[in-house]
């Protein structure tokens, strides 16, 4: 039997040496002994600076030995593991995970970029939702651009500096 969608709630924030991660299960492949999960991650700057990069992608974990695959950020993987009728609820869980990460880490600068180049407007919806959510969390979008060299979209958010009277 192939992959079976079996959504679960986001897990608590995991603090790694170079990132913060919130995972939630999308489902399981019983025959292959795998759990498929959505991971929302806030990467630390290994250069020691303040900026963090926000990303979300799908990973596959071996249930027996726990080994985790690299991230898949492409649309094809989403289509494979998230049924069309479930995309909205998965998007809401991604936003809840973003909220958990941002609230816990409180980064001053957050960058975000698309994995794929030349994304058409319908495919930008999830990024727009994250942008709106960053606004709700008190962040200001100070830059948005589609880069002329790689045709990917880039966003930059920051916490506005409050000047005491």
């Amino acid at each position: 039997m192939a992959f079976e969608f079996d959504l679960d709630q986001p897990e608590p924030v995991f603090v790694g040496p170079s990132d913060y991660v919130v995972d939630f299960t999308l489902g399981y492949d019983i025959d292959r002994g795998e759990r498929v999960l959505m991971s929302v991650v806030l990467f630390k700057d290994d250069g020691g600076g303040d900026p963090h990069e926000l990303a979300f992608g799908i990973r596959i974990q071996n249930v027996v030995i726990g080994v985790m695959s690299d991230y898949a950020f492409d649309h094809g993987t989403v289509q494979k593991y998230v049924p069309k009728g479930e995309r909205r609820v998965v998007s809401l869980l991604v936003l809840a995970s973003v909220r958990a990460l941002i609230t816990q880490v409180s980064p001053k600068i957050v960058a975000m970029e698309t994995f794929e180049a030349d994304l058409p407007p319908p495919a930008m919806g999830k990024y727009m939702s994250v942008c709106n959510h960053m606004g709700i969390l008190g962040y200001q979008m100070i830059e948005y651009r589609r880069d002329g060299t790689d045709n990917k979209d880039y966003w930059l958010f920051t916490i506005p500096v409050v000047i005491e009277p």
Binding site: S18, I30, P51, G66, D70
Partner: protein
């Protein structure tokens, strides 16, 4: 922080991703139990299917 520094930062992250340097926690007990439960259900279904075909 300058635009150049931000670009350098995102490139460093991209390089880390391409090297597979992303943290992973051990699988949770809840997920492990759910997997076992689903596996048990699938086995039961297969068994039932074989019984009906016999």
């Amino acid at each position: 922080m300058t635009k150049k520094e931000i670009v350098a930062f995102t490139k460093r992250i991209a390089a880390r991703l391409s090297r597979g340097e992303v943290s992973a926690r051990p699988i949770s007990e809840k997920a492990r139990l759910r997997f076992r439960e689903l596996a048990r259900q699938r086995e039961q279904e297969k068994h039932e299917d074989r019984r009906l075909r016999a």
